[in-house]
Assembly symmetry: C2
């Protein structure tokens, strides 16, 4: 079996079981239905896409989380169909699956948290998922291998599984935090509390749902909400944080900063894995914007750069055409002063005071951009706003993946 090399069974938070099954939604015949079963009493907090068109399972999730005041027993995730733009029939299908999951795993229907990812606008074949439930139940287990099988089952155009984990000590007890997720295209999550990226963060810390949401928001705002592959915000993006409490360690004001830091680190690692596996990408770019009028403005500039096809294609060609970054910045809507912009590729000064740096060396800049991962820093010189943002290039392979249509 292909276990995740760096993850031992010790890294898996207590209180959770994992499984994967074949429901027949993926044309490839691969596993496409996965479950997380949580101990009774597990706290839950979730954030969903800001897209105004949201998939049926997200509508159900919001109702269920509100009904249970933040508790989840079973997460049921299918890949291969987004169950979005499917109308009342889509909602009914999601509810039928929840009912059957509840019957299989012995919980209330509203303790089920359904999730879907795949094509939009195609009716969800609920009966296929329901028929695969015995398989899902019989394959349950708490090992790293079980988690790995879940990570594979939820993939769509992803080329590899995405998992990150850490542990910390709180009051002499070991607390584990682990995130598992998927996402490769339609990646520009804009998560709000109450994105086709699906992320499940699990911990065995003991945290009430309201506090859990606070921790989640702080972590998501500087991780998943700071990445973009193609600027397309999905109808299905979801990040769910579950806290089983099985470590016996509660989080108080003394331990909260350490817990927050560990959670943010796990989320940031997973967010970067999603960008690094973006559809067709050949470069991962860390943007550092500073000196903006505000943090919100810095994010606006980062997104203008990250979403410019001309910038992204230049990156694909390792082309140090920095004028495209300036043009995108000028078109961002942020009140910049062109004569105050400085730009660096790593340590190489590229642009000073809005024009070509006297130290600009095209050959060196080109060489720098040949790396798979690199850093671009822009200083706007007009304020103290800043941000860090992760994005990718735009390649012919991205176009091929998404233009591929054969009838």
């Amino acid at each position: 079996m292909n276990s995740i090399p760096f993850l031992s069974d010790d890294a898996i938070p207590g209180g959770f079981l994992f499984s994967a099954a074949r429901a027949g939604l993926k044309a490839s015949g691969r596993t496409d239905f996965a479950g997380i079963v949580a101990d009774k009493g597990t706290s839950a907090a979730a954030m969903f896409t800001a897209n105004r068109i949201i998939a049926a399972p997200l509508i159900v999730d919001k109702i269920h989380l509100s009904r249970t005041a933040g508790h989840v027993r079973v997460v049921a995730i299918n890949a291969g169909n987004a169950n979005c733009a499917t109308g009342e029939a889509g909602l009914a299908a999601a509810r039928r699956v929840c009912g059957a999951v509840a019957a299989t795993f012995g919980c209330h229907e509203y303790e089920v948290f359904p999730a879907s990812t795949g094509i939009i606008g195609v009716p969800l074949p609920a009966e296929k998922l329901i028929a695969a439930l015995p398989q899902l139940q019989s394959s349950l287990g708490r090992s790293a291998e079980h988690l790995y099988q879940l990570a594979l089952a939820i993939m769509t155009t992803d080329t590899r599984e995405k998992v990150s984990a850490t542990t910390l000590e709180i009051a002499g007890k070991t607390v584990r935090i682990l995130a598992v997720g998927k996402g490769s295209g339609m990646i520009h999550p804009q998560l709000v509390p109450h994105a086709t990226m699906l992320v499940y963060v699990l911990t065995d810390a003991q945290v009430e749902p309201a506090a859990l949401l606070g921790f989640l928001q702080s972590a998501v705002n500087v991780s998943f909400n700071r990445i973009s592959v193609d600027g397309d915000t999905s109808t299905n993006d979801t990040v769910l944080l579950l806290a089983s409490g099985s470590s016996g360690a509660g989080i108080d004001s003394a331990s909260a900063p350490a817990f927050q830091q560990a959670l943010t680190q796990v989320c940031t690692s997973l967010a970067k894995q999603i960008v690094a596996d973006g559809e067709g990408i050949t470069h991962v770019v860390e943007l550092e914007i500073e000196g903006a009028p505000s943090d919100a403005d810095a994010i606006k500039v980062a997104k203008a750069i990250a979403h410019s096809p001309l910038v992204k294609t230049a990156w694909a060609g390792c082309d140090p055409n920095w004028g495209r970054l300036l043009s995108a910045t000028g078109a961002s809507g942020v009140a910049i002063d062109p004569a105050k912009i400085n730009l660096w590729f790593g340590e190489l000064e590229i642009c000073r005071n809005g024009e070509r740096s006297p130290f600009y060396d095209e050959a060196k800049a080109h060489e720098y951009l040949k790396q798979r991962e690199y850093r671009i820093r822009m200083s706007l010189g007009v304020g103290t706003g800043s941000c860090r943002f992760w994005t990718t290039d735009l390649t012919t392979e991205y176009v091929r993946i998404n233009a591929d249509y054969s009838t």
Copy 2:
């Protein structure tokens, strides 16, 4: 010679001379410097990019137009270098060229309207342009062939020249309107009065500068401001309207609607030519958005669709993946109601009330999308706002053109 087949000398507005020269800015060695010489007393109105980083010639143009209160004698256009992000040296270079142009053609420096298009951030070699001025002067002429040579000289990644023309009768006199322009990539003009698209609209009607700007704004807002190839708003976009008055026909309140209509038609034709020659494109899509909360919201939805890489790549593959259009609409920020969205590809009903239409026929939809030009109509059902917008697909060829970098 390769004259523009549909354009006779009769279509050329009176009062203008055209020329083209080789200044050595294009690596290809093609003509790259062009001039329009206008009769004394020619009125001018211009609109420029909304990008906050603007090229040096646009700064000079604004000063000159203000100084002359809307009069232009010579338009001097170079391709191959945008003279943007070039600092004080770039401004000085633009001014040196203007001075030499004024001396060559016998006008005031501030009656010169410079323009540049090409790479950003590279110093403009003013001396090359100045050395080519005798060539520019000796090639002047008023024929359709001279105009054609100008249209070729200002091209960058364009694959063909762009010209549109019409005539109308006003008070028994023939008024000619003609537009010539260039643009292929970095095309998402956001023109405001006072975009690497350059457009020159010429007429021999007699109109004062202030009135001319009114006509221009009305025409631009529904033509050049309604197109996008890649969503990148340039630092150099410029539309200049010149009225020589040589027809002897003034525009009064009775003839204004007809003049406006003819002007808008010429601008719309040229705007569509720019889209149809977008970098690497294989499909031109006319979007009709209706039932939006407001016209501004309709434009917001059109742009969200036109700028979604997933929508654009689906179009490249003739893929009727309409869920991507819905997702882009939901992420547009406009207050839509998912259950009220209807969608048609031409006459084919694709989506009704936010879900797959009962008449949806994937094979027919795929067939429809194989056409080079087609129409997509979306009804949002929440208001009376509407717009028409022209855009393109995103192909591997676009990526190749813009990622091509060889050291």
